[in-house]
Amino acid sequence: MTEPSRADSWTSECWGRLRFAVALEGFTLITLVLVGSTLKHFADIPIAVQIMGPVHGLAFLFFLYVLVEAISARMIGGWAGLRLLIGAMIPFGGFVNERWLARKAKAIR
């Protein structure tokens, strides 16, 4: 059995980071939409939106950064990047894309 090379560990680290960014963005979007907006509009409690709004904004920026890095590194192509970007704007889209990336990473390895 051979030890994993530095390039292998780097590749899996990059895929892991991209999957984490996609899942984090999806999670904060769901929290903002389902919990924050529901509390604000039905119970008149805006605090969840006030907290989750900036948190989701930062998660989205982190996702964009990792996406640019992944496309520049040719880990994923332009169409895959577009799919991730569209998925990031749809509730639960991030979770679907995270699973898709996991399968893609497994197929490459």
């Binding site: 390039a7 780097w10 990059c14 930062l58 920026l61 964009l64 950064y65 990792v66 640019v68 890095e69 992944a70 496309i71 520049s72 590194a73 040719r74 880990m75």
Partner: protein, 142 residues
Amino acid sequence: MIYLWLKAAHVASVLLFVGGTLALLLAGAALGTRQPGDAEQAQSLRAMVRWWDARITAPAMIAAWALGIWLAMSGDWFSNSWLQVKLLLVILLSGLHGMLSGRLRRFDALASPAAAKPPMIVSFLTLGCVLGISILAVVKPG
């Protein structure tokens, strides 16, 4: 008093982030103009820059963001137009860093040297962002 410490830490993080981004640009240019016999040197340069990027530049970028947001909140500056423009430039600069970091990772020492060289527009955009951010942060026009 806490404001001055926050500001000092923010400036230090920004200096490290910008320095690291310029190092990525220079490393890309150096790798792009290397001779065919320099594969070993190119490999060690790439490994060194990548190590610096992961351990210093990327954490400095995160710290600069966090401290900058903290400072803007403490000064209640988010509604000011200079900060909104500065934020756009910071997002662009962060994106350029991500792009340069990704490009460096894409090429190994055996790849075509010319392909490692960042396009000239990336250098101009990086320098333009740094210039614009500095002016907006110090002069605070509007």
